[in-house]
């Protein structure tokens, strides 16, 4: 067991290093610091002197990989790769290219609003989807089942944009139940969060119910269910006590990964509802062409994913001994 966990943890490091190098290639080799400076300064005032000055001010004036002018360990550490890319491995995200604010501080500040939107959506979606999928699974093969299936496909075929726009129009503009967008820190934020959460839950209903229904139906055909039926257990007991427990294994082991990814926020919702979370931060940076922030967010997202996957794998191996022995 321990050997499995250690092996699994050790695999995280090369993966993160790979992500780091890939990000470096995209952001520094394909698009050199000179290009970045010219994009930041604009076409008009991008003469070589100003480009150099911009690079110096933002710390891009050192060589990419190998600094021959420095001595000792500085040859490796005084490079763009080390100060701008590799440093993200130990949580040093540096400063924004545009506003010079520390990206790390901003991430810490914005993680909570992001979580306030995504965590309730995640929990509510899980509960509602499992419950509805269970009901559909009990009625499998009936007209209700087929109607629900079709409704799910229709729900899936509607763009998230439409859900958000329609939600804002009906609940905020026509009914005036909630504000259209905005955010307040503290407990008052629920007024602003109610609508994004509702929209988030509704937009994931279609695919969620379908997924869980398939999961449940896979379980229902297994031998232990037949045994339970043969014993004469009522159908609802089989479903809610036996099938649910087993079907929840893949769902619940996935929770650590989901929880970490929730922190990255939901770009679409945060952007539409002006919630100052990490998703909105990324979109603002993208539109402002702030490469430092985008770079950091890509790495942070990958980091959370890799760590989440690690936790999920460990959870799975705790529950299912076939994994760690295989």
């Amino acid at each position: 067991m321990l050997a499995y966990i250690v092996r699994r943890i050790l695999y995280v490091i090369p993966t993160l290093l790979g992500v780091n190098v890939l990000v470096f290639v995209l952001f520094f080799l394909v698009n050199s610091p000179d290009d970045m400076a010219r994009q930041a300064l604009g076409e008009k005032n991008s003469d070589p002197v100003q480009v150099e000055r911009w690079k110096e001010a933002h710390g891009y004036d050192v060589p990419l990989f190998w600094n021959g002018n420095a001595s000792g360990i500085g040859r490796v550490t005084k490079t763009v790769f080390f100060t701008k890319s590799l440093s993200m491995m130990w949580g040093d995200f540096g400063k924004s290219d545009m506003t010079h604010e520390s990206i790390g501080d901003e991430i810490v500040r914005r993680a909570l609003p992001s979580l306030c939107v995504t965590a309730p959506i995640f929990l509510a979606t899980l509960l509602i989807n499992v419950f509805l999928a269970m009901l559909v699974a009990t009625a499998r093969g009936s007209v209700t089942d087929r109607v629900t299936q079709f409704a799910c496909v229709v729900f899936m075929s509607i763009s998230t944009l439409i859900y958000i726009i329609a939600g804002q129009y009906f609940f905020a503009k026509l009914l005036r139940w909630t504000p259209v967008s905005g955010y307040l820190p503290g407990l008052d934020c629920w007024k602003f969060l109610a609508l994004p959460i509702l929209v988030g839950v509704i937009s994931s209903l279609g695919s969620g119910i379908r997924l869980y229904r398939t999961l449940f139906l896979e379980e229902i055909n297994k031998d232990y269910v037949r045994t339970a039926r043969a014993k004469g257990l009522p159908e609802w007991q089989i479903l809610f006590l036996h099938v649910l427990k087993n079907a929840m294994i893949p769902i619940l082991t996935n929770v650590p990964l989901q929880l970490l990814m929730l922190m990255m926020g939901n770009m679409m919702l945060e952007n539409f509802f002006s919630i100052p979370g990490l998703g909105g931060y990324t979109i603002t940076a993208l539109n402002a062409q702030d490469f430092a922030i985008v770079r950091s967010m890509v790495f942070l997202g990958s980091f959370l994913y890799v760590v989440g996957l690690l936790l999920t794998d460990i959870c799975y191996s705790l529950v299912d001994p076939r994994i760690r022995l295989g």
């Binding site: 992500v19 075929s157 944009l161 804002q168 379908r210 993208l286």
Partner: protein
């Protein structure tokens, strides 16, 4: 890259190649019993057949819109205009065959918004009548000509929605065409050869798949600029890993099957084993994934375009239409037709694609069938 992409001959060759290879694949598959059975299975569902025809209709519009078309310029007497030096016929800037067909509607421009089939403008204007200033809706230049109304700069919404079909279809098809060969080649090689090849490919796959898709596409578009080809490439790179894993697993299973073992024992070279025995047996997975993913890619385009990381605002797509329409809903009275048109056209493509995809999956892989 963008110049070649936009050039007239490149587009027409590409469209021709796609159509010919599509027909060739269908003709080849018809010879195999397994695919004929799957075809009959799909045909048994009336809903799936209807959806297939809707998809064909969309494809037809997209194809017509992909064929380059240039009109020869004529002078006022109707004579062909020729270059004074070379004597060659002069052509206009060129567009697609669909542009040519729609010229009748799209050239009828209004000043600004007008509601569907309306005879008067949507906006009130001050008119001086008998010395009194009145606020009234002026009549349109082309009353009743706009089936779905016009937008802020007076362009026909119906035309825009038709033009968006191509963007959506290109995204759905080209992304798949980019991702599938990669995934097929690498997945099959990875599963069949194992060892170092497998380790390296799996490492690359785990690195790529650990970057959240949206963020990967976003940084790709930030570096390479916004546009349809870039978006297809970015989505292609971001999406091959899932299919790769699926195919690798299936190949691992097939490698141990008796017919493969027999072929290996008889001394068949490994590339032939792959081509004759492995690849045909994973093709159903490729097709299922491609069909099921098509719709999500069309939806993703709209979302990404809204976020400012999709196609540029100069490319007409449902994403840009919805993006434009967002501010129109805050007006009073609201302007609903652009949003509703984009929504209806999108649903008209994505819903049949989903239903047809489910039917194809059920027909090709009974194990995955939803009971």
């Amino acid at each position: 890259m963008v110049e070649i992409w936009n050039s007239w001959w490149f587009q027409n060759t590409l469209v021709g190649l796609l159509v010919v290879s599509g027909i060739a694949v269908v003709l080849r598959l018809r010879r195999r019993e397994y695919w004929r059975l799957a075809y009959r299975e799909v045909c048994r569902r009336r809903g799936a057949v209807i959806c297939f025809f809707v998809l064909c209709l969309y494809t037809l519009v997209a194809l017509i819109d992909s064929v380059g078309w240039r009109d020869a310029l004529r002078d006022e007497n109707g004579e062909l205009m020729r270059d004074p030096r070379t004597g060659k016929v002069v052509y206009d800037r060129g567009g697609s065959a669909l542009d040519h067909l729609l010229k009748g509607i799209s050239s009828k421009k209004e000043k600004t918004y007008s509601s569907p089939m309306s005879r008067e403008s949507f906006m009130l204007e001050s008119v001086n009548r008998d010395g009194k200033v009145l606020r009234e809706r002026p009549p349109l230049k082309h009353p009743g000509a706009h089936l779905l109304g016009t937008d802020r700069i007076g362009q026909d919404v119906f035309c825009q929605a038709l033009k968006s079909i191509r963007t959506g279809m290109v995204i759905g098809i080209l992304t798949t065409l980019l991702a599938v060969p990669f995934a097929l080649l690498l997945g099959v090689a990875s599963g069949y050869y194992g060892g170092l090849v497998d380790d390296i490919l799996q490492y690359i796959c785990s690195v790529l798949s650990s970057i959240p898709t949206v963020l990967f596409i976003a940084s790709f578009m930030l570096i390479f600029g916004r546009g349809l080809p870039q978006l297809c490439l970015a989505m292609g790179i971001a999406s091959w890993t899932g299919l790769y894993r699926l195919l690798r697993g299936e190949t691992l299973r097939l490698r141990e099957e008796e017919f493969v073992q027999a072929a290996v024992a008889m001394g068949v070279p490994s590339w032939r084993v792959l081509l004759r025995h492995i690849v045909p047996n994973v093709m159903h997975l490729v097709l299922i994934t491609a069909v099921l993913r098509f719709s999500s890619e069309v939806l993703a385009e709209a979302a990404l375009t809204y976020l400012g990381i999709g196609v540029g605002s100069d490319t007409i797509s449902w994403g840009t239409m919805i993006n434009d329409a967002r501010t129109e809903l805050t007006r009073d009275p609201i302007i609903w037709w652009k949003l509703c048109t984009a929504f209806a056209f999108m649903l008209g493509l994505v819903l049949p694609a989903n239903i047809f995809g489910d039917a194809v999956r059920d027909a090709l892989d009974p194990r995955l069938r939803t009971q």
